[in-house]
Symmetry: C2
Subunit: 345 residues, 2 copies
């Protein structure tokens, strides 16, 4: 039974507040566009695909809230809200992809339509994005599952699970599908500092699905690999450049390097909406810097000296040469990625 | 002004309770051998050299506590206490080294001596170990300081500072000495999960010394290296095998691999008491497993699901081939380490 990370319930946007997991499961309604922005910014909802879907619904929330009287007023409000939501998190390209798709539908709507008609049209599009995400995640699971051999050990970083999408995940979709097919394997989940999405979310999702999961600190990955416990790595992505360079949660590049040193294949699982072909390589991907307090007082008590300098990038970029394959909804892409990405996009 | 991690004050063993740093600076007296064992086990005092010195004084605490009436009774109590203290942490070889040194002095003491005479003899030896540690740390600083070039970025993991020794450190001694020599450089300190010795202790010590330090999560090291901010890595050691393989805090091997991938030299700083020539290589070093709760509830609140499986080795072993040099009190040793270690020991 998959989680329902985001749902559009009778005109209300309902999300699981992921900052409270795993000790508390709580759904919250987002009734204003500020609440949507804040939920994305503070990682109540996170994961590149889930951010995209939330933002699409966020535009509907804005229209509900502002009650524009005409198509023109609605278009104006929509673009204001889209510009605003785009500032919530700069790295996840799915955010811009979903907002642009909604803008496109709005701009192409018939000139004579009223605000209510435009709203219905946009609601259909957001629901379509949501439904597509479901299907895409299942297709990723289908394509990736054969990579997990019987008895394998799989390492993952951060959370690219149902909680990072509408309901089934990207990297974890591969594991969910392998599990559904009856395969037995073991997952090692990096806890993923500073916000511990691996400990809080990935461990929770995998345990819930009945998959054997062991939590490790991020710095333990090399030791676990050296002990022969890992046969492959699968992670998600926040943005993938045209050459395959992949931005994902900070620490992914660490994992890719140490996997490479142990000759362990490193896979990225992501939908095509995560690809950004406007960027030839990863050097142009903006890297969000997070609040130092997430590192120094992340979990209730202060764990570093007052006034200490902190460097806390939210993401890093794994160069394509360290990636064995990219598991998408259409196929597993293999190097050279510039060619395989062009071919499939 | 160096910290005083351990002192023998008028027959009392006084340590800084490092579990309370950086928010609280508190000295505690250890009045029973159980308190000494517990202080080592729970990392109130930690760091291989500091554990050794604490254990040496711990034997005096045991004799104070048990008040043996004769040399024979004192010898008996001493060996019981030494066997007991040896169980506190299995990886740090300095623990066994210091205990064996104290046992040797006791066993070699004149047969006609009374318990008080034996105590004085052992007290002198413990104070000698303590004083040697001071000198050794300063010599390590002296030998290592030329490795830090003006303007360099240095990455360190865990805490191999004054708090890991009597008062000046091993890896941090190199930085303290370079700073005393007027060199300007920048340190990046891994926070070092699960117990955050980097965040809590290394950042505190370096800030206190006026050295420019930036705290990063363990998983951020590769990104910082990629940005060109790091010119060398210096870490401590808990045990070094005859071939140079080095056990140190979990995550050290991660750092060594990613430094290697970026062509950044990786140095170990440790006194000769950390070498264990009975082990031909690192495969025989016992690796202590820590309590899962340190990972799942380390900061005051629960950060992982109930009943999650956790794998938390306290140490890993960095193979000698990844080590550019070992900074000791006599010289910087270079590969091949089997030869250089033999030559200097």
């Amino acid at each position: 039974m998959a989680v329902q990370t985001i749902r559009w319930d009778n005109g209300s946007l309902i999300i699981i507040d992921q900052t409270l997991l795993p000790t508390q499961y709580s759904e919250i309604a987002l009734d204003t566009v500020e609440q949507v922005w804040h939920a994305i910014k503070t990682l109540k909802v996170r994961g590149a695909p889930a951010i995209g879907v939330s933002a699409a619904f966020g535009l509907l929330v804005a229209l509900r809230e502002k009650r524009p009287g005409s198509r023109e007023a609605a278009l104006r409000e929509l673009h204001i809200a889209a510009d605003y939501l785009a500032t919530s998190r700069p790295t996840a390209v799915n955010l811009f992809w979903a907002l642009d798709r909604m803008r496109g539908v709005a701009d192409a709507s018939p000139a004579g339509e009223d605000a209510a008609g435009l709203f219905r049209r946009l609601e259909e599009e957001a629901l379509r994005i949501c439904e597509e995400d479901r299907k895409v995640c299942r297709a990723i699971g289908e394509h990736g599952a054969p990579l997990i051999a019987e008895g394998a050990g799989v390492l993952t970083h951060c959370n690219a699970g149902g909680l990072a999408t509408v309901d089934y995940g990207t990297a974890l979709a591969v594991m969910f599908r392998a599990h559904e097919l009856g395969r037995t394997f073991q997952v090692f989940a990096d806890e993923t500092r500073p916000l511990l999405q691996g400990a809080r979310l990935t461990a929770w999702e995998l345990m819930r699905a009945g998959i054997d999961v062991t939590l490790i600190c991020d710095n333990t990955a090399a030791q676990v690999m050296r002990e022969g416990k890992i046969q492959l790595v699968i992670v998600g992505a926040d943005r993938i450049a045209a050459n395959g360079d992949t931005a994902n949660k900070i620490g992914t590049y660490n994992v890719a390097l140490i996997a490479h040193a142990h000759n362990i294949p490193f896979y990225v699982a992501a939908p095509f909406s995560t690809f950004d072909r406007t960027l030839p390589d990863g050097s142009g991907i903006p890297i969000e810097l997070r609040d130092p307090a997430e590192v120094t007082r992340g979990f209730g008590s202060q764990t570093a000296p007052d006034q200490v300098k902190v460097y806390s990038p939210a993401f890093d970029v794994t160069p394509a040469r360290l990636i064995a394959g990219i598991i998408t909804e259409k196929a597993v892409l293999y190097p050279p990625f510039t060619e395989s990405i062009s071919r499939w996009l």
